[in-house]
Structures are given as C-alpha cells and as structure tokens.
C-alpha cells in the first residue's frame, strides 16, 4: 500500500491524500471540543477556523510531496540503472571470449573510422587556420590551351585587378622566396614569401608582436623590413621579446624586424597551393613585395599568386563574374592576353584540398563499410549468444522481470559493450595515428591541421550510441518475442530459431557483399598502382642522388643580370662532382622530373606560318647543364647532347623531346630547325632526347624543350649526381663539393631519385594501402562471421543431422550439406556485392590510372576468393557435422 502512494504521480492523489488527512484532523478536533462542552455546530466551526486556510496548507504539502516523489523516482531509476550496469558488467565478464571478440571487432571498426575521419576532418572539414578562411579566394590565370590549370598572375595585371575589383577586398599578391639568413657566421636556408600590403588583412591575421606589412613598406626603395614566423623567432632568436627593431642579415642585405607572427601561421603553405609554383611546405618569413614602377607594365611574366577576401555578402560566383568583367576590360588594353589566358577564381578552401578530396571521400566510404561489417559481426555474435541465454532470460521472466525491464537490461549491456569497443577503437586510432600519418603523402594538403579533436570524439560517441542501441534492440526484440515457457520446458527451439537464423544469414550476406565491394576497389587500385609503377618515367633513377641549391639573389649576384656567372657557378659544382671517384655523371636542372615544378611556354617554329589565335603550341621547358641527360640516363634519340658549344656565354641551341619531335616534325628531321620559345629570338635544335614524365607518373607526356643553362638561369637548381655506389653516400660528397665552391650556400631537399619517384606515388600508395587494409580486415571479419553462422546452424541441426546419419546418410553427404550452406550464403553475397561494385565503379574511376575500375577479371578473382573463403570457413563446422554421433545426438534432446 505504501508503495502505491509512493508511486502517486498526479496532483489528484496527493490532494486527496491531504484532504483525507485534513478531514480527519478537523473531525477529531471537533470531537475534542464537543467533549470539552461546545455545541457540535460551534465545535466544527471552531475546528475548521483553527485549521486555517486549507487550500494553502494543501498546496505546500503537495509541493513537498511532489518534490519527494521526483527525487525518489530519480534515485530509484539511478539505482536500477546502476544495478543494470553492474549486472551487464558481470554478464560480460562471465563470458570473456565473447566479450573480447566483440570488443576487438568493434575496436577495429571504430578505430579505423576514427582515424580516417580524423584525417578527413583535418583536411576537408575544418576551416583553414586563418580567421577569414571562408571568404578567401585565389585568383589565377589559366592557359587557353589547358583550361583549369592554375597559373600565376603578371604584376601589371595584378595591380589593375587590385584597383578595379568590386567584389574582393584586400586583394594582394604573394610569391615564394628563399632567404639565406646569416647570423653569428651561421647561415641557414629559410623559405618565405614576398607579399604586398593587405596580405595579412586579407587573411585576417594579427601579428603576435609589432605590426604587419604596411603600404609604406610596399614601395620600391622603402627601407627593408621583415616579419618573422613564430618558430623561426623561437629557434634563431630564442623568443627574444626585444626582437622588434633589430636588424637581421638576409641574402647579404640587412632587414629590420617589424613583427612576429603567431604560432602555427605559415601561409603560404605549399600544400594549399598548386604545385609547380615553388611554394615551400611552410613559410617562415615575409618581406614586402615592393614593385618597381616598371612592374606596372609587366603583363608577360606570370609569377604572382593572388589572394583576396570576399566583401561581406558576396560569393565566389560574384567574384567570378566581376573578375570576368575586369578581364574583358584588361583584354582591350592588352590584346595579346585574350589569346592565351583567362582568369580562374577558386576558393582557397577548395584549392587546398583539390588533389585529395576524391581519395579521402572514397576511403571514408570504405571505412564506413568496414564499420558496418564489424557491427554485423557483433550483431551475429550477440544473436548466437542470445540463443544460449534463452534459459537465463526465461528464468528471469518467470521470476517477474517485465519486458521493459529486460529490454532496458539488454540496452544497457549492449551500450556498455559498444562503449568499451568504441573506447578501445579511439585509443587504437590515437596510438595508430603516428603510423597512419607517417604514411600520408608528404604533400598532402594541411597535414599540419590534422588532430583528434572534439568533433572526432563526438562522432565516435554518436556511432557508439547508435550501434549500442541497435544491438540492444536486435537482442531485446529477439528475446522478448520468444515464448519463454517453451524455452523452460526445453521445446521451443525450432520456432524461434528460424526467424533468428534468417536474420543472421542476412547479416552474413551483407557482410560478404560489402567485403566484395571493398576487395574489388582494392583490386582496382592495386592494379592501377602496378601499372603506374611500370610506367616508364623516361629516366633511370637507380643510383642517382639529388638536392636543391637555392642561391641568394643579391645586388651583385642576380641571374637576370649576369646569367653567365650564374651558369658558371653551377657548372663548377657539377664539374667538380664529375671528377670525384665513383661519380659517373653530374648535372643540374631548373625543374626536377616528378617533382611537380614545371613551366610551360608557347612557341613557334621558324619557317612555318604563325598559328591561329588561341592555337599557339605549348611546350614545357627547363634549363639543363650538359651533364644532366647523362646523369639521369635520358636517352639521346638523334643529334647531340649539350656540350662545349653551350658553355659559351651566349648559346644558340636547344634540345627537344621525342614527343615534341614526333608531334611537330612528323617525318622530318628536326635537327637544325629553329624554334622561337620563351626568348625573343629563335634557337637551333641540336638534339632529340627521350620523353620524361615531368610532373607525375600518371600525367600525360608533354612536349618538352631544354635550354642550355647559360641561356635560362633560374634561382633554384636541382643537382643530379649518378654514381656506381649507393646513392645515399653521395650526400656527403655533394656537401663537400658545395663547401669548396661556396661555403655560404645551403643544400635543401637532399634525397635519392628513387625517393623522388616513390614520393610522386605517395598519394596513390596511401589510398591503396588503406583500402587494402580495410578490405583485408573486412575479409577477415566476414570469414569469422560465416564460420560463426555455419557452426551455429550445425549445432542447431545436430538432431536432424543425427537422424540423417542414423538413417544411413553418408557422412560425406552431410558434410556437403553443411558446405553448401556456406557456399549459398557467400554466393548470394558475391552476387549482391558484384552488382554493388559495378554500381560504385564510377566513383573509383578518378582514382585509378589506365585501369578499368570495374575490371571483369578482378571481379572474378574477388568472387572466387570470397567463395573460397566462404567454403573454408564452413569446413570446420562441416567436419564436426560429419562426426556427429547419431545416438548421442538423439539422446541429447
């Protein structure tokens, strides 16, 4: 009875409760007064009056009671929950094998998902680490001949754009620049940028100390000023708080430090910008651009990156329209531009993830499949276990546990399981993060921005809760549906078993189908990777070492002013290298193959009619020293390599690539013909060399022109050295020679040519390894799943199989019966998976090179593999079925 009142929830019960109490009080009081000699009417009146305002007292009692009930219900719920958790924990601990397998399976699925989502989150989802990131756009030009390729801007065009843009504000230009910082006789190569005033305002960056670059700094002839990056300030200046105003020696001039940027700021970061413009991985210092008056008329040298901030309320589309309008105006002033270039406006956020977005999304999809498979496996385990627990549940029902209570118990148990799995998974992801990130392609955009943050944890928690609830519902639905009295009597097995088995078989078919899709994807990427590796790079990377030399541009040493001196410097290094023992050849090139940094130029062939407007042929070009082709073993097809003639201070020759010869001189001998490219004068073709993959292995072969170094000096040169010994041993040799020639010049990016080759495949390798890993994990899980289901089927059919054996069935036939089960399930999965793989093949198309993403042969192999695995997983249960003792099986029931 007390319990009934305790559970009273509404106002009425509590009110009636008190009304009764009050009435009794008044009655007793009345009686007392009557006994004291009052008349009944007067007594009742006095008692009521004395009791006071009934309604008010009732209200305060009710409030008190309701509070009490609320807190009681809370404690009760909490206590029950605590009991549920403790009970769940004990249940899980009691079957450690099940618990460990389930937790590990979930950990695998959730860990892989967490790791993958961390990368996707860091690279694709999180805004770039600049306050104005969402509104930042890059303005490029794009050649009419290959639209979409991002080319820089010419200074004159930029200045016009800055004045005329109506949609963008703080339009500013920047350009990569290397510096040699000398202090205390120590020189260090630093990567940074020249930027116009407004650059930091566009990004929305405030300096940590001092100020950024102001308009008065950004004039030709203004005093030299520099902004330092946080890391550089800490490393080289010990975080000196009085750094402002100090002078530092950069490229033999002195610059006054006017500001320090906050920690982590490193824009422009190479990975955010198109490769080929020479942006460093991270920038560490910034100086003003300081255009010369002549630059305003420079429309030809496209060498500036341009960034701007959308005015509030404007979109990238608005900017596109506005800049298209501006470009039409520009073409009127500078007609030749119309023929070659058009503008290209891209949101910085999009540009930064350009190359890898597709791969990451596909990989995220793949990991979601793996997670689904893991969950299907755990569901399967749970269903197996719930069959075994039928008795326990039936007893608990018989003892009075309601369906609701049971369902909650299952929910708690499964949530606990899922939480444990999720926690292990996240730990796994955090621990395995290092390995995963080590595998990330070095040029992956925004590697710096990848961390396990709250959004990753929140998503994982969400997945865990959904999974836990789903598991709980599956088990609870299954449990509460069955007839418990039959279970207790030991008869109700087959009726429950059927629906149950159907669910489990469905799960297995789904697992096999998902595994099929993953395996098919991995197979396509794998074949593509093999094909890529077989692609002839056009050179022999074995035994070659390379490093970049960046010479400081100074007043007295500027390639534009004194090219011969520039060429002599590199020639001296390569000549000295070539004379060292073991060295076969050494050369220098302005753009190393497969490093992504190549430039293109339009050209015309002497003696041929001028090309139609917009039809100007385009070739890539590079400057090379005479040892270059021999060092990379790029074969000579006809004519000769550069030699002594090109060592003169003004050379008149060029070498072209095989494909250029074939395309522009079909059936003719190009040797001796003259081509006008890049320079205002024509050069004579003296040789034809083999084609080289210049940007990446999967990029098409582009006609190429090689200029002698003396004609085309560039501030950055890559040295290539071939030796008979291990290529790695060449680094010290290179440093030695460099020290002899000029001790003040640092070496950058030293690596073997094989590493460069591997680096160019890093992104493909990354996708392949991950997808292969996911596919293998899926295969493993599916195998375990098939085994579990078939074994369960066999144990459920022990009696039937026993009867068959007793009636004289061959053990072999029984084995076949079981094997057929496994084969049917995997066969069904294979068919569904095959259809899925064909449907999803298109998604992979952009990730594979020269391979059909839906390759019948690969699909067939995957199908055979999965059917084989399905059969193999059924072998153990099949053998067990064969060995069933008919008598024991029949007696057991």
């Amino acid at each position: 009875m007390r319990r009934l009142f305790r559970l009273a929830t509404g106002r009425s019960t509590s009110d009636e409760d008190f009304a009764a109490e009050a009435k009794l009080h008044v009655d007793l009081r009345t009686q007392e007064l009557i006994e004291g000699g009052m008349s009944p009417a007067a007594a009742r009146e006095a008692a009521s009056r004395h009791f006071g305002d009934l309604e008010r007292i009732s209200r305060s009692c009710r409030e008190i009671d309701q509070n009490r009930e609320r807190s009681m219900r809370r404690t009760e719920l909490f206590q029950e929950l605590r009991h549920d958790v403790r009970f769940a924990y004990r249940t899980l601990v009691r079957s450690p094998a099940f618990t460990v397998v389930a937790i590990l399976t979930l950990a695998l699925g959730i860990g892989a998902t967490a790791a993958m989502f961390t990368v996707v989150n860091g690279v694709l989802l999180r805004p770039l680490p600049y306050p104005n990131a969402p509104g930042l756009v890059l303005v490029w030009t794009t050649p009419k001949s290959s639209p979409g390729v991002e080319w820089p801007f010419a200074a004159g065009n930029f200045l016009d754009l800055r004045n005329e843009s109506r949609v963008l504000e703080h339009v500013s230009a920047f350009r990569a620049r290397s510096f040699i910082l000398t202090s205390d006789g120590n020189s260090e190569l630093l990567e940074g940028a020249r930027v116009t005033a407004g650059f930091f305002e566009a990004l929305g960056m405030q300096p940590l100390l001092g100020r950024t670059i102001a308009t008065e700094d950004d004039r030709a002839g203004a005093p030299h000023v520099v902004l330092l990056g946080y890391g550089l300030w800490q490393r080289r200046f010990g975080g000196d708080p009085n750094i402002l105003g100090q002078l530092v020696a950069l490229n033999d001039s002195s610059y006054q430090v006017v500001g320090v940027m906050p920690k982590g700021f490193a824009f422009p970061r190479g990975a955010e910008l198109p490769s080929g413009l020479g942006f460093p991985g991270r920038s560490e210092l910034w100086i003003p651009m300081a255009f010369l008056p002549a630059d305003a008329e420079n429309r030809g040298s496209q060498n500036l990156a341009v960034v701007g901030l959308l005015k509030s309320g404007r979109t990238v589309e608005d900017a596109r329209a506005d800049i298209a309008l501006f470009w039409r105006g520009l073409i009127q002033r500078v007609p030749p531009l119309a023929e070659v270039l058009s503008p290209l406006v891209v949101a910085l956020q999009d540009d930064a993830t350009h190359g890898i977005r597709r791969s990451l999304i596909v990989l995220l999809g793949a990991v979601a499949f793996l997670l689904l498979i893991a969950c299907a496996n755990v569901s399967n385990l749970l269903l197996t276990r719930s069959t075994a627990r039928h008795r326990e549940v039936a007893i608990r029902v018989a003892l009075g546990a309601g369906n609701r209570r049971l369902a909650r118990q299952f929910l708690v148990e499964n949530l606990l399981l899922a939480l444990a799995g999720g926690a292990c998974g996240v730990l796994l992801a955090v621990a395995g993060k290092g390995a995963l990130f080590g595998m990330l392609p070095g040029h992956l955009p925004r590697v710096d921005d990848i961390t396990v943050d709250w959004s990753v944890l929140a998503l994982m928690l969400g997945i865990v809760i959904v999974a836990g609830i789903a598991f709980g519902i599956t088990t609870a639905a299954h449990m509460t549906r069955s007839d418990h009295s039959e279970v207790l009597r030991g008869t109700g097995k087959s009726s429950v078993g059927r629906a149950h088995r159907r669910t489990r078989q469905g799960l297995i078919v789904a697992e096999v189908a998902l595994s099929f899709i993953l395996l098919a994807g991995a197979a396509a990427l794998g074949r593509s990777f093999i094909v890529l590796q077989r692609v002839q790079s056009g050179m022999d990377s074995q035994g070659v070492f390379t490093a970049q030399l960046i010479l400081p541009l100074t007043e007295t040493f500027d390639p534009a002013r004194d090219p011969p001196r520039w060429a002599r410097f590199f020639r001296e290094i390569t000549d000295r290298l070539a004379t060292r023992p073991g060295v076969i050849a050494a050369g220098a090139v302005t753009a190393l193959p497969l490093s992504g940094a190549w430039e293109s130029t339009g050209f015309s062939i002497e003696g041929r009619p001028a090309a139609e407007p917009g039809q100007t042929p385009i070739a890539q070009y590079a400057g090379v020293s005479d040892g270059y082709f021999r060092a990379l073993r790029i074969p000579l097809r006809s004519g000769r390599f550069f030699g002594a003639e090109e060592r003169r201070d003004s050379a008149t020759s060029m070498i072209i690539s095989e494909s250029m010869a074939a395309r522009y001189f079909p059936g003719e001998n190009p040797i001796g013909r003259r081509i006008k490219a890049f320079f205002p004068f024509a050069l004579e073709i003296v040789g034809v060399v083999g084609d080289v993959r210049q940007t990446t292995l999967d990029s098409p072969i582009v006609p190429s022109i090689y200029f002698p170094l003396a004609e085309y000096p560039a501030p950055n040169m890559s040295i290539v050295v071939r030796s008979q010994q291990d290529a790695r041993a060449l680094e010290s040799l290179l440093r030695e020679v460099l020290k002899e020639v000029d001790p003040g010049i640092p070496l950058s990016r030293p690596e073997t040519m094989l590493d460069v080759l591997a680096g160019s495949l890093a992104q493909q390798r990354f996708s392949l390894i991950l997808l292969a890993f996911f596919a293998c994990a899926a295969l493993g899980l599916a195998t375990v799943g098939i085994y579990g289901v078939i074994a369960n089927v066999v144990s459920g059919r022990t009696r039937e199989l026993g009867i068959r054996l007793a009636l004289g069935a061959e053990p072999k036939a029984v084995r076949l019966l079981v094997l057929r089960d496994g084969l049917v399930l995997s066969g069904l999965g294979v068919v569904i998976g095959g259809l899925g793989a064909m449907a999803l093949g298109r998604v992979l198309a952009s990730l594979v090179y020269a391979v059909n993403p839906v390759d019948p042969l690969a699909l067939a192999c995957v199908a055979v593999l999965l059917l084989g695995v399905g059969t193999a997983a059924s072998i153990l249960p099949a053998l067990r079925a064969m060995r069933i003792d008919p008598i024991a099986a029949l007696r057991a029931e």
Binding site: F5, F51, G52, I57, C61, I64
Partner: protein, 111 residues
C-alpha cells in the same frame, strides 16, 4: 486560551520527532500530544504541522502509512525512521547545548 509560542522550524521538527518516538501517530495526535504534554503551553498550528510532517517525510526522517484508527477511520500514521532518530539525537545535543548556554547567560545576568 493558551498562549502560543512561536517555534522555529528546526525546533518544530525536533518536537515532532521526539513525539513520534512514542510510536506511530497521525497528525492530529502529534499536535494533541505536544499540546497536552506542555500543558497547553505549546499549540502547534496546523498550517505549520502538516507541511513539517510532509517535509520530514521527504527527508526520510519519518515514514507514513495509511491505517485505521481505533474508531475505524482511515488516517495517515507517521512513524520515525532510523534516519529520523539520528536527526533527533543530533538536535537533542545541540538543543541541550543551546539551553545550557542560555541558562548560563541568565544566571550571569542575575548575579
């Protein structure tokens, strides 16, 4: 009638607990017991008594149960719980200390 004494809430609860140590009682009986024991010196207002009883029930000092009176009427009987006894002991101690302190002051004032 009798002169009623204003009771602080804590004191009222203390008195109710003490009363209930004599056995389970309904609200009226609690009030009557206090009234008669103090020779009508303390008259507990119903407006204070019932909320106090309900409050104490919430705190778990008393337990309530519906039962029949000698006259076969349904009444809500309040019974002191273990927690209530503990509370009572605590209050008794502080009450004794309080009374002793007041007595000392009174004695000092007389001298």
């Amino acid at each position: 009638m009798t002169q009623s004494v204003d009771l602080m809430q804590g004191t009222l609860e203390f008195l109710i607990l003490k009363t209930l140590t004599w056995g389970p009682m309904h609200g009226f009986a609690v009030g009557r017991w206090i009234r008669t024991t103090t020779d009508d010196a303390l008259e507990i207002e119903e407006g204070a008594l019932y909320p106090a009883l309900h409050r104490m029930e919430r705190r778990g000092w008393v337990d309530a149960e519906w039962a029949l009176t000698e006259n076969n009427r349904k009444a809500k009987y309040y019974e002191i719980t273990r927690l209530g006894r503990e509370q009572l002991r605590k209050e008794e101690r502080s009450w004794t200390r309080y009374v002793a302190a007041v007595a000392k002051i009174m004695a000092a004032a007389k001298a």
